[in-house]
């Protein structure tokens, strides 16, 4: 069956998740392909576990298949309920065994501790990867401008880190003697020389192009799944979708390397989303060390939730924010146990990253700020304005970006990924070099915008006419603007617009690309501008009523706070995060003082964005790609009934069913070859239509094949029984019968046709089932699969049904 048909197969009554594709089951164990499956150091557990896999009978070990029936196929949806059921059986087996012997007890206790070990390893590796990426990216970023003499591995900041001398003057006047600018290659010494400028410009653009080209080539050749932010896919996978290779080793490797390259190239993208992906890859990798996670897709997703928390934790240096991000934005099934593990994982990751100390500031994040100036009540008005700005920006950005991405899918643009990346890189490098703020590494810019201007800050917008009094070392009063600040008032808006426009085209390129940093940059610039404006207003008119008492502490407005609020607002508008965003920002400052401004901005931004736009950017991309993602957060508020959704529809042929005791082996074999449904309901008789249970396609095929091979006397005309009531004695002349009671799942989820769809959606969301059967007065009427539900929701939302295909 062709994949293309599958995808656009919207018309066929795809109950039971449509058709199958020929993915190799072996890939489930992404790491075990190399080592012949002997990686799992709990191998004994793993093989024994298979004995109690079948979930139909109370503790029955009767069905011992060769292939495990728990393997899902690629691009299929998992059945949480069955997986959790399997986990419980396994757990019971382990605890039963552990009560028997000391060895069993040891194993049992290892079984209990193993999750923590995995989480620890994930945390350590996520932190290490983040450290490597940070160090590599800052180095590559500076290599566009020059190189460190004698120690080429140091970036500009580290190269000029220690100079055993005392100097007077602005910090950028201080020549760093150990740093070698590229124009010095040509014997040019004066940076003001136009030839030197040109050489620098060309080197900058050339280096950026080279790095981007390298990145996109590596992605294309080794791990196509490494491109993009990955968060929409992670959300989909965590909601119970199988996407083989998405968390593979190669994805991990290539994503890390290319992220260094693209951040170094200075593209308008960040590393937060990709870091979550990298952390999840680590999580997947280590989850396979322990069979109870590696073999159980539902349990593995708990691990991945914890890993994604670690990803955000290292991206922002905000462990609590990371956990809440995982809870709010990414995860689907988040039991309390996972909350605690996520927290541990995020903590460890942040701790490791802090130990690596990539920024040399003893913090896990580049833009850590620490100021404690109070804010005043009248400032709520600008904060609300920033919130509105952030919300509007979010709406416009999301719409433009989604339009552009759709264009990429539908038009010829998508055929030339390398060219596209190169063009965007060229434009980025060409346009950003002239503007000093755009030229900066984006996270350096954000860090500068967030910081309050101190004595050592020599960046343009810190050019104040300060008059220092000597009493208090933290007393930097508000002051009038100097030329540097005035120049910043047109340079910064230009940088903001450039950043905003470039990000629209960058997010969705076929390289790893996060959205947080550029979005934050836009908001931070906007906020800083507003803060500077307010500050100058306060200085010009200190006698205005609103500024009463404001100058008591010498400083009236904190522009850095405005930058933070602005960054939170745009992020809120684009991603529609709420509490996790506030907490992340709160952890960056480490003070409860600013939680109210941040909250106001986030709330206003979210409200404005929700009023004008539909979804956050991640949900937008999920819709665009047509992933089968059933959003657990959106409440289903319609009043349709199960009857309106179930297949077969009125006009369709009746439901394919198996009768309990009349089918023959041949009939079933035909059924499995002619149709590709995942689930076949078993009924008592065609007459009564009373439901007995369901049989899964894979298990049925396997069981029939085994029976043909192993059991003598089974011929095509053999009757198949799905009931205990089997004729006891062999009647001569009639072929031997076959009892397949062991593969019958006697506990399918059933609902009546009058059940409101909201309840059904709840059941799909909360119980994590794949299909449910619809009955009326005890008779089987139809079936609802997860995709039917998704399609129904999409129809109710008046989406173009053609555009939403679900794999």
């Amino acid at each position: 069956m062709e994949r293309e048909k599958l995808i656009s197969g919207n018309g066929n009554p795809s109950y039971g998740e449509g058709a199958t594709s020929f993915a190799d089951d072996d890939d489930l164990l992404d790491i075990s392909t190399d080592t012949d499956g002997s990686v799992s150091f709990l191998g004994g557990l793993s093989t024994r576990r298979r004995r109690s896999v079948n979930g139909t009978e109370n503790g029955s070990d009767s069905y011992e298949g060769g292939t495990a029936p728990d393997q899902y196929e690629d691009f299929h949806t998992i059945d949480w309920a069955r997986d959790m059921q399997r986990y419980r059986k396994e757990h019971k087996a382990v605890s039963r065994r552990s009560s028997r012997s000391i060895w069993g007890r040891l194993k049992g206790s290892f079984y209990a501790v193993s999750a923590w070990v995995v989480v620890l390893l994930v945390g350590i590796f996520a932190g290490a990867f983040a450290g490597i990426i940070d160090i590599g990216a800052t180095w590559l970023s500076d290599i566009k401008l020059g190189v460190c003499k004698d120690a080429f591995w140091l970036n500009w900041e580290q190269c000029c880190w220690v100079q055993n001398n005392t100097q007077f003057g602005n910090e950028d006047d201080i020549q760093c003697l150990t740093w070698f600018q590229w124009y010095e290659l040509f014997g040019l010494q004066d940076p003001q020389d136009w030839r030197a400028y040109l050489v620098s410009y060309l080197m900058f653009v050339g280096a950026a192009l080279l790095m981007s080209a390298l990145a996109v080539l590596l992605v294309l050749a080794f791990a196509p799944y490494a491109c993009g932010s990955g968060i929409p896919e992670i959300k989909t996978i965590l909601s119970g979708f199988i996407m083989r290779g998405f968390f593979g080793k190669w994805t991990l490797l290539i994503k890390s390397i290319t992220m260094i390259l693209v951040v170094g190239a200075g593209l308008s993208l960040g590393k937060e989303g990709p870091l979550v992906h990298v952390a999840c890859c680590c999580g997947n990798l280590f989850a396979h060390l322990i069979p109870k996670y590696g073999k159980n897709e539902a349990k593995k997703r708990e691990m991945l939730s914890a890993a994604s928390a670690a990803g955000v934790s290292v991206a922002f240096g905000a462990p609590i924010g990371g956990v809440l991000f995982s809870l709010e934005e990414i995860s689907y099934y988040f039991p309390l146990k996972t909350l605690w593990r996520s927290f541990f994982c995020a903590m460890i990751a942040a701790f490791v990253l802090q130990a690596i100390n990539p920024f040399g500031n003893d913090h896990a994040v580049k833009f850590y700020v620490e100021y404690n100036t109070p804010w005043y009540f009248f400032e709520i008005v600008p904060f609300i304005l920033l919130g509105i700005f952030g919300g509007l920006y979010g709406v416009v950005f999301n719409r433009l970006n989604l339009k552009w991405c759709q264009l990429r899918i539908t038009s010829k643009l998508g055929k030339y990924p390398i060219t596209e990346v190169l063009l965007v890189a060229l434009a980025t490098a060409l346009l950003s070099y002239p503007n000093p703020y755009s030229r900066l590494n984006t996270s350096q810019l954000i860090a500068a915008l967030f910081r309050e201007c101190g004595p050592q800050d020599a960046i343009g917008f810190c050019d104040y006419n300060r008059t220092y009094t000597r009493t208090d070392q933290h007393w930097y009063p508000s002051a009038e603007a100097q030329p540097g600040l005035i120049a910043a008032m047109w340079q910064l808006p230009l940088a903001m617009i450039l950043q905003g426009i470039l990000t629209v085209f960058t997010f969705g390129l076929k390289v790893p690309a996060g959205l947080f940093i550029p979005t934050m940059a836009v908001g931070a610039i906007g906020g800083r501008l507003m803060g500077i404006a307010m500050e100058q207003l306060a200085i010009e008119h200190p006698d205005l009523l609103i500024f009463t008492g404001c100058f008591d502490s010498g400083k009236c407005i904190t522009p850095g706070l405005y930058a933070m609020v602005g960054a939170a607002a745009t992020l809120g508008g684009v991603t529609r995060m709420t509490i996790s965003l506030v907490v992340i920002m709160f952890e960056l400052t480490g003070g409860l003082t600013y939680i109210v401004p941040l909250m106001i901005a986030c709330m206003v931004s979210k409200w404005v964005a929700d009023a004008f736009g539909r979804d956050g950017i991640y949900d937008g991309h999920i819709h665009l790609n047509g992933y089968p993602f059933l959003d657990g957060k959106q409440e289903f508020m319609r009043t349709t009934l199960a009857y309106d959704v179930m297949s077969p529809r009125r006009t369709d042929p009746p439901l394919l069913t198996i009768t309990m005791d009349t089918s023959t082996v041949e009939e079933l074999e035909n059924l499995t070859t002619e149709t590709r449904f995942n689930t076949y309901p078993v009924i008592v008789s065609k007459d009564s239509q009373r439901l007995v249970g369901v049989v899964y396609r894979k298990e049925l095929i396997h069981a029939l094949k085994q029976a043909r091979k192993n059991q003598t006397g089974i011929v095509s005309q053999s009757k198949v029984y799905f009931t205990r009531k089997v004729p006891k004695f062999q009647v001569p002349g009639i072929p031997q019968h076959l009892s397949l009671l062991s593969i019958l799942d006697g506990s399918p989820v059933t609902i009546t046709d009058q059940t409101p769809m909201s309840t059904v959606v709840d059941m799909f969301k909360k119980l994590g089932i794949r299909t449910c059967l619809v009955t009326h007065n005890g008779r089987l009427l139809g079936i609802i699969s997860k995709k039917d539900v998704l399609r129904h929701i999409a129809e109710l939302d008046h989406q173009d049904p053609g555009s939403t295909f679900f794999h």
Binding site: E171, A221, I409, N625
Partner: protein, 154 residues
């Protein structure tokens, strides 16, 4: 190369308000205990009031290892990529629609064929080769999904 020390004491003092220079930055590498304004800048206790002294630590070794590691990795990947491209020049361009998603058995058979008639090393190599083939097949599938069908990650 004493200039790439792993610790520094950085004291920032505001410059003399009458002079043109605004900031006075002193950076020395001294032990933590000696990182006080008076000791580093030689000012009096009173003059030191407005100075900020910070003792900072870094590890150039980690940076060195990481950067070299990253460079080597990129180099190796690039070399491998070039090797692959030489062996199969159309690799990145070819449309795989017809050949892709071939039944897995074919690939396993390849591996099985190599296995019996050769030495341990041969088997080993064969296994590696087959693993590589499987992997390449997977990458091709991914490439198809992402770049041609646009069903993922678009």
């Amino acid at each position: 190369k004493a200039q790439f020390e792993d610790c520094r004491c950085k004291c920032v003092c505001p410059g003399d308000p009458h002079s043109k220079h605004k900031v006075n930055v002193t950076v020395v590498s001294v032990p933590a205990l000696e990182c006080t304004c008076q000791h580093v800048t030689g000012r009096s206790e009173l003059e030191c009031l407005r100075c900020e002294c910070k003792f900072e630590v870094r590890s150039t070794t980690i940076i060195k290892i990481v950067v070299i590691f990253v460079l080597v990795l990129i180099g190796v990947l690039l070399a491998y990529l070039i090797a692959l491209l030489i062996m199969d020049p159309g690799m990145l361009k070819r449309s795989e629609t017809d050949r892709r998603r071939q039944p897995q058995e074919v690939l396993y058979q390849d591996a099985a064929e190599v296995a019996p008639g050769s030495s341990y090393f041969g088997r080993r190599l064969g296994r590696v080769g087959s693993a590589q083939k499987r992997w390449q097949h997977k990458v091709k599938q991914q490439r198809q999904d992402v770049f041609q069908d646009h069903t993922l990650l678009s």
